[in-house]
């Protein structure tokens, strides 16, 4: 494996990590912007316009219960297929969304972004060490360990966020005939897997450092 391949792979990983920071960042910024705008509108004309928040939910349609004939899509060839909604963003009144959930969700978003930034910094430091030929050193094992801890914490936060979303949705008592409504939560299998793999690699790395030190002290 030559140095160019290491650099190319590292840049790709940093880009992916960067994009994963941007995505929740944009989500959070959009939520703050809407909340701020709603607050300003409310201050300008109190009680005139109800504050609404965007909320994404998943529709899990039972195929036998797609009720309306209008739920269909017509292709250019004239063929008509049933249109089944799987996911949609609805606007819910502000009072329906519990304040504690809003606070906890905001906190989770901010913590996730901070952890992702820390994670990228650790990874960049790790790559810098590798490029300087400092491969089997204690700090690299530490960086990998921190990287995995950050990723595992992010996964945990995502799970907590999902539980909160589900609790909020069940509190809202939304009903739609033929559909089972659930929150837009995706279990973070990918993050958990990468976190656990990097934790395993960090342990192996520490072991490799010990072997290297022993090798160096063999006369």
């Amino acid at each position: 494996m030559n140095k160019t391949a290491i650099y190319v792979l590292s840049i790709l990983i940093i880009i992916v990590l960067g994009l994963s920071v941007i995505s929740p960042g944009i989500d959070m910024f959009e939520s703050f912007r809407l909340g701020f705008k709603a607050g300003l509108d409310e201050a300008a004309a109190p009680g005139e316009q109800p504050i609404e928040l965007p909320y994404t939910i998943k529709f899990n349609p039972s195929v036998n219960q797609v009720l309306h004939s209008k739920d269909s899509i017509e292709f250019g060839s004239g063929e008509v297929y049933p249109l089944v909604i799987h996911e949609a963003s609805i606007r819910i009144p502000e009072r329906t969304f519990p304040i504690w959930a809003a606070w906890v969700t905001s906190l989770i978003y901010v913590t996730t972004i901070v952890l992702l930034i820390v994670l990228i910094c650790k990874f960049i430091k790790f790559i810098i060490n590798i490029s300087k030929e400092k491969i089997f050193v204690d700090v690299n094992a530490k960086y990998l360990k921190h990287f995995s801890y950050c990723l595992l914490t992010i996964s945990l936060l995502q799970i907590v966020n999902g539980i909160i979303d589900e609790a909020v949705l069940s509190d809202m008592n939304l009903l739609l005939a033929g559909y089972q409504l659930t929150s837009n939560t995706i279990f973070p299998w990918g993050n958990l897997l990468i976190g656990l793999i990097s934790l395993l690699i960090s342990i192996i790395w520490s072991r490799a450092i010990l072997i290297k030190q022993e090798q160096e002290l063999t006369i």
Binding site: Q213, E214, L217, T218, I219
Partner: protein
């Protein structure tokens, strides 16, 4: 480590310096110093063989096992 390296004793007996011994064995003085000060984790048979050959001694003259010394690692 309960293994004691008595290389300095043998070197003194043969009136040989670290630099001379390391040159004759074919290892660096810093590596020989690691061995002499007991910091080494292991010793290769060929290194031991060279040391015994040059210092005209047996491995037991260089290495000693003492139960009362605790393992620091």
């Amino acid at each position: 480590m309960p293994i004691i390296v008595n290389l300095d004793v043998m070197m003194a007996k043969r009136k040989m310096s670290l630099g001379e011994l390391s040159e004759r064995i074919g290892i660096t003085p810093s590596n020989l110093s690691i061995l002499k000060t007991g910091k080494a984790k292991a010793i290769r048979f060929n290194t031991l063989e060279s040391i015994c050959q040059i210092l005209e001694c047996q491995p037991a003259d260089i290495l000693e096992y003492r139960e009362d010394i605790e393992d620091a690692t």
